[in-house]
Subunit: 364 residues, 2 copies
Amino acid sequence: MNTKTASNKPEGDYTSEDYFFPQELELAFRNRGIPAEGLRFPVTPTGMHYLLNHFDIPEVDSLNWQLKVHGHVNNEVSIDLENIRSRPSVTMPVTMECAGNGRAFMKPRPINQPWIHGAVSTAEWTGTPLRHVLEEAGIKDDAVEVLFTGIDFGTQSGEEQFYQRSLRLADAMKDEVILVYEMNGAPLEPQHGYPLRLVVPGWYGMTNVKWLDRIEVLTEPFNGMQMQFYREVSGDGDEGTAIETMKVRALMAPPGISDFPSLKRIVEKGNVELIGRAWAGLHSIARVEVSADNGANWSDAVLDDPIGDYAWRGWRFDWSATPGKHMLCVRATDSAGNVQPDEHTWSLYGVANNGVARIEVEVK
Amino acid sequence: MNTKTASNKPEGDYTSEDYFFPQELELAFRNRGIPAEGLRFPVTPTGMHYLLNHFDIPEVDSLNWQLKVHGHVNNEVSIDLENIRSRPSVTMPVTMECAGNGRAFMKPRPINQPWIHGAVSTAEWTGTPLRHVLEEAGIKDDAVEVLFTGIDFGTQSGEEQFYQRSLRLADAMKDEVILVYEMNGAPLEPQHGYPLRLVVPGWYGMTNVKWLDRIEVLTEPFNGMQMQFYREVSGDGDEGTAIETMKVRALMAPPGISDFPSLKRIVEKGNVELIGRAWAGLHSIARVEVSADNGANWSDAVLDDPIGDYAWRGWRFDWSATPGKHMLCVRATDSAGNVQPDEHTWSLYGVANNGVARIEVEVK
């Protein structure tokens, strides 16, 4: 063992709650976030898009692949990729956020994908409406849910499983729900669900099942493992509430320049345009406010024109930066009047947090 | 403060050396690694390719962008993207590895990008030979180096800087060194250096300057910050040795399935084909060996056909998996007879490690 001291030890004191485990680091490398400056792009470049895969990314031979539609339907159907691609298509920007975004701020925190703020991105998705495929199969009376099964396979909570999530029938039949084969104008890359994935605008990321293998119409609600985990639970023994659509949230592209490897931000004094994005599930964004003094005072930002019904909305704010350290904050309010809380809300699995984001900058 | 205990706390004891700082987690999210199963692809999908950016990813308006070639030349030239794209082009698979790959295993470790094993990938790069561009500018006598300056700007070690690295003239003039505008058949994404980057096959990643702004021919060696950091240094006060081409190394795509979120590997007993990739800078791969008992016994793997002079080489090995825990290892030997050491070699900045990779699996 070499006993020399390492250079560049970060300043400040940490408690054990402020450290991260090797397993969390490994999760962070597998499942990347959008780099903060990536918020400058209204549509996230494919390779910058955040990623959360529970199990190994499968390699799919699309020539031998077919989507099966079965269960409580009149006609079971199998559809190949060529057929899917020949159907009426829609392309739209959709913002997707992982339900665990912000989990790293939980104290104590569950050991799971330790997201800071980067688990959100927007892509232009191209696909065909799910509704038409379901109608073609003919949904029988008494159907209540639609179950989506991916090809990705692994274990979680001791159970071997394909990744599976369901939607209520009424949600699955919405016009905007699409079976997607292209992302930003190119075929899906393997890690984003090639050859076909589900995109359900407005819902948290776990809904958008990748590597679709089959779609089953059910007469009973599905209660598989991936339905049980994605719940806001106040503690052991609490059944909690299923999380569905994304809560209101805003983020800021950090101003100025970055120091490597400390990632501290340095800003020149004077006029600085702060920019960022805000989103709110199926609601629209009503207001974005900025604070340069850690939330003591707030001022309204200007909203950019919307880029789509299901995509984040840009905002900008002219800040007169004075020398010294400043804690920049941004918070959004949605069209239903929901406003982000000052702090992340603790829950057992660390999901559906939308506390105000803070960026410390030093103005010189 | 909520005092409930978090679920899923990893087993085992950790010392402070085994924890990671929030800053390291942030670096891991910004600069992603290839997911281990991504080693199954001979050419890494763009969005799976590892990434190491020191400073913010710049947004470049390619219409107003020009590459400047200046310094100790007969004719300073400025070349726009259309011109670059109209020149003779080459496309080739090139394996790139960050010099810091494996840094997380250093004890004590420098606080910097805390790579585990994922800082290596292979893409098909398309570009035009640098040599022609330099010849067109006309290199004067007494030139010794060529300096590459990126548009990316930030601070490191207290110095404001554009990212800059140089090559000896003889290395810059090699046929395989290219100015790249496409990755895997599409224009470079912003995070990979759009609109133009350098690719120097065989060298560690820091050499491949992204977002090229200018190329300067020098009569003295360049000794900027990015030349000083990428050195193998045994401790404070040691000047160390510049690192250049990649050392021999092999990695394995983990067999079996993964547990989420522990990332433990579970393998079914019986015949298992282990596969992976090996590379060695400007050398070729002579041999790959596999051990299923933490290095006590080694057996030769079979090498796949090469996919290019500057790309990693696939290998495969038939393993008869018996129930229980196994520590799988792989090590490579290059054409110059260099073999990977059993352990990572400590150095002050944690660069150029190529210790044997280990994957623990449980066979059921």
